[in-house]
Amino acid sequence: MMFSVKSVLGNREKPILTPLTYLKCLSCETINSRPFKEGDYVFKETEEKCPKCGGTKMKIIGIYVKEPPKEAGKIKKL
């Protein structure tokens, strides 16, 4: 029983990492993020509407996977 539970848990596929695209509005310099779209690359200038000022020119300043904050004390530091 124990082995079968372990094998079921062990075979569970890890989810595919999906990065976020971080865009900087070229008018108001606000940084926004959205899920990555094919064709995005860092330093690309895109024509997307800024949710804050309504500006239409944005620059991609980063594409990365957001990491959850580290839980302090969960793993003892050696």
Binding site: V42, F43, G62, I63
Partner: protein, 388 residues
């Protein structure tokens, strides 16, 4: 009452005595036990056979998991290649040909000049590989072809890993050699981690997402972001930004993006040095480096030497040139695991690029005198990283 109760308990216990020889069952069980002991005595490798079957079963389970990953990666690669190919192209056949392609390393009996022989073979192989992808995916542009080439390399990597583990599994099974399968079993946790990284890398290259290995290039790009500069191609797939920093001339070298390429940093550095001669006072290299377990991902560490991986050709050439002209080599590395290097870039790695850019600026200001030049080389795969 107490004595009577104990007596009633003693009866079934007596019945269960194995070597008591008080009844037929005990005698049979004793005989079985002796036979079992004899088996170990007259057939000393019995325990080994038993252990071998356990290990083989464990390996079989993990090998099946790697097979599933390999099939998933192959299927996704095929789907992506078909999106960029003409209807009549035999993508299946061509992909299988590329997955099984190989390069033969040069003879090392006489090691003189081996680096340049190796460079020639690897260059030919890489060019042929890229040319095959280009002819197969006629709808893809130049940048996309480079990323698709990386994708096929990922598929080739997991395919080879699967075939290699299967080889040792079957060899161990055929020869009943516990020492072969034991070694594979010991490596399996790391190999499973690599297989999973290949799976994640496949999705990253399919969509052109930046990977952890690109942090060196990202740091180099951030160094010259928003400053006045002259940009030109210095070697194959390699660009250089010429800029000034407080009276020092800075050559920022990196592979051209946003397609997946690593360029030829050594050739680029050599060309700059040939042009600048003794004005170059330092070479600063930025690259991703493998962390040890327990170390934090994205940690920036400073050192000395040529920070560059690969087969060693670029490292050799850079070291040769630096030694000949007595140019100091400074290195900045960003720690990450092997899995993080080929999967979508993590936040901590991306943030480290800004930190490195600042540290490089400080190093240039403190170690290079005004009026002299410095070469900064951002090493890594440029997938998803454009020109700043």
């Amino acid at each position: 009452m107490g004595v009577g109760f104990l007596e009633s308990l003693a009866e079934p216990l007596r019945f269960l005595q194995f070597a008591g020889q008080q009844d037929l069952l005990s005698a049979i069980l004793s005989l079985v036990w002796i036979a079992f002991m004899m088996l170990f005595l007259f057939y000393p490798t019995f325990s080994q056979k038993l252990q071998l079957s356990y290990i083989l079963r464990d390996l079989e389970r993990r090998l099946y998991k790697i097979k599933q990953i390999r099939e998933e990666v192959r299927r996704k690669t095929l789907e992506t290649l078909k999106r960029y190919s003409e209807g009549g192209a035999k993508v299946d056949e061509e992909l299988d040909k590329m997955l099984l392609s190989f390069a033969i390393t040069p003879e090392s009996m006489d090691p003189y000049g081996i680096v340049y022989k190796l460079e020639h073979i690897v260059n030919t192989w890489e060019d042929t590989f890229e040319e095959n992808v280009r002819s197969l995916c006629s709808k893809a542009d130049r940048e996309r072809v480079k990323t698709l080439t990386n994708l096929v390399e990922v598929a080739r990597g997991i395919d080879y890993l699967y075939r290699l583990i299967r080889h040792y599994y079957l060899l161990g099974k055929k020869t009943s050699n516990i020492y072969i399968v034991l070694q594979v079993q010991m490596l399996m946790p790391q190999l499973m981690e690599i297989a999973e990284a290949y799976r994640q890398a496949c999705y990253a290259f399919m969509q052109g997402q930046p990977v952890g290995d690109g942090v060196g290039v990202l740091a180099a790009a951030k160094l010259v972001e928003g400053v006045e500069k002259k940009t030109y191609e210095v070697a194959k797939d390699t660009i250089v930004h010429e800029t000034m920093l407080d009276g020092r001339k800075v050559y920022v070298l990196r592979a051209a993006g946003p397609g997946g390429a690593v360029g030829k940093p050594a050739d680029g550095i050599m060309k700059i040095i040939e042009a600048e001669k003794d004005k170059v006072k330092a070479i600063v290299m930025i690259d991703a480096a493998l962390k040890l377990e327990g170390e934090d991902t994205g940690k920036v560490v400073e050192g000395i030497g040529a920070a560059i991986g690969g087969i060693g050709v670029d490292k050799f050439k850079i070291e040769e040139m630096a030694k000949k002209l007595k140019i100091p080599l400074y290195a900045f590395v960003i720690y990450q695991s092997i899995g993080e290097a080929i999967t979508p870039m993590r936040e901590s790695i991306a943030k480290a690029a800004d930190e490195v850019a600042e540290k490089v600026k400080n190093l240039i200001k403190s170690r290079i005198e005004e009026g002299f030049s410095v070469i900064v080389a951002g090493i890594g795969n440029t997938v998803g990283i454009g020109v700043s």
